[in-house]
Symmetry: C2
Subunit: 260 residues, 2 copies
Amino acid sequence: MWFDHRGTVFPMRTHERVLAQIETDLAAGRWALGEALPGERVLAEELGVSRPSVREAIRILEAAGVVRTAAGSGPTAGAVVIDRPAAGLRMAMGLHVSSGALRVPDVVETRVLLETWAIRAAADRHRSGEIDGESLAGAQRLVDAMEEPGMSPADFIASDQAFHLEFARIAGNHVVEAFMLGLRGAIGDYVTDGVDRLPDWPTTSARLAAEHAGILDAVAVGDGATAARLAREHIEEFYIETGLAGGTSPMAPAGAPSRG
Amino acid sequence: MWFDHRGTVFPMRTHERVLAQIETDLAAGRWALGEALPGERVLAEELGVSRPSVREAIRILEAAGVVRTAAGSGPTAGAVVIDRPAAGLRMAMGLHVSSGALRVPDVVETRVLLETWAIRAAADRHRSGEIDGESLAGAQRLVDAMEEPGMSPADFIASDQAFHLEFARIAGNHVVEAFMLGLRGAIGDYVTDGVDRLPDWPTTSARLAAEHAGILDAVAVGDGATAARLAREHIEEFYIETGLAGGTSPMAPAGAPSRG
DNA sequence: CGTACCCCTGTGGTCGAACCACATGGGGTA
DNA sequence: TACCCCATGTGGTTCGACCACAGGGGTACG
């Protein structure tokens, strides 16, 4: 039996006990990043529960982006500890967007909020010299790549996402980075569908690439306010153009977790 | 077999197929909020898979805050559709905080970011008359309650959390609301532990309550800038005082999902 | 006829055992 | 010495069984 902070009593289900134990061991550093948990059968034996109960707990860990599972043998097999917070956030948010509990406009608004913060912070850090001068090189390479006319929409979207994430990385906040990744992933299929409906992708992509260059330039000179304003306009314009800004009805499921 | 956007081929596991199908049905409106999914045995039969595979998918939905399960019979039994995005976010974030992939200072920084935005937005909406004049009544009641000297730390923390969430609710962004709830929950045990280590809780709680009153007053007069600044100082001061602001080492697991 | 009680029914929760496909790595073979 | 093959152990999946629990309907009683 377990108790909440008010003294209410309730039984804890088996897979919850397993999950709690694994979480405790995780916090205690029992497994480092890249190491594998004990096998399901071993874990079941250790905790005195059945293998299906262990599996249910591992499923949750996997959905949360804490482990990745693989069959076979060798060091890469088993439930290997990873750190993909965004995968878990993406899963939860995507499901709630599908169910209608979360709306795309709210997701977009939140994305603007986080991105403008990250870009402003990145610009500030860059101006104050806190970060290496080469930190913007990655963003520059992505901008260059996106300015190539022949890039496919899918590759462009991937590069676009990487570009936006660069600033969260520079800002140094992993939670914001994970949120941004999760938000973007949660509405990923909506974005793809929106791009497919655009009347003139080459023109749009060229404009987007130019806007990216403008944002990067503003960050490079340390003008966080301008960079944030440009980013806001860039994001909002994109969602308006693809018809996602006002739509609240679900269009397609966000899909099963990717194996990225 | 399934393909990603690059044409890579990979098999989809059974529980992933089940999850994808449920997500599609969810998006199609097959079940309304409060309705129950078909029984596990029925679902397994429908999809041509085994019951454990269905259960693994439902576990993920449960962890994500999409359904709540209960045994027995009647309308409240089974896998009932709910909308608790924060539960899923809290689960994912809490696990990653435990594993060390996400750090408490980043969580706090993100919380400040989201809360100052929400409070500013709430103040703006209040000033512009977009919202009912009674919207702040709930926050006022919470402030009044927290100013009562006899309140237990646990109840105070609950009221405090509700107070902060009020502004996200007024701002009208469910994603931000869920993020705030998830962030707070992910470090919930750290907060509780921090409070327990405070030398003089009555004094601290009185100060916190006064700060809440100040924030609410600033929002009430539509001064978003002041309200946001007060909120930032309020949050940062609390984490410094409880010794959480700089700590990165895990202290205790965030625990299994609560049944709230 | 109305009401209270009890048990039948179906739910999720848990378990054990079995078989599969797969990745590996060591031992046997050319 | 180099190659190949298969024994081994992993997660993936399934089946079948039993449990505790909550409801609802049938039944017996007032």
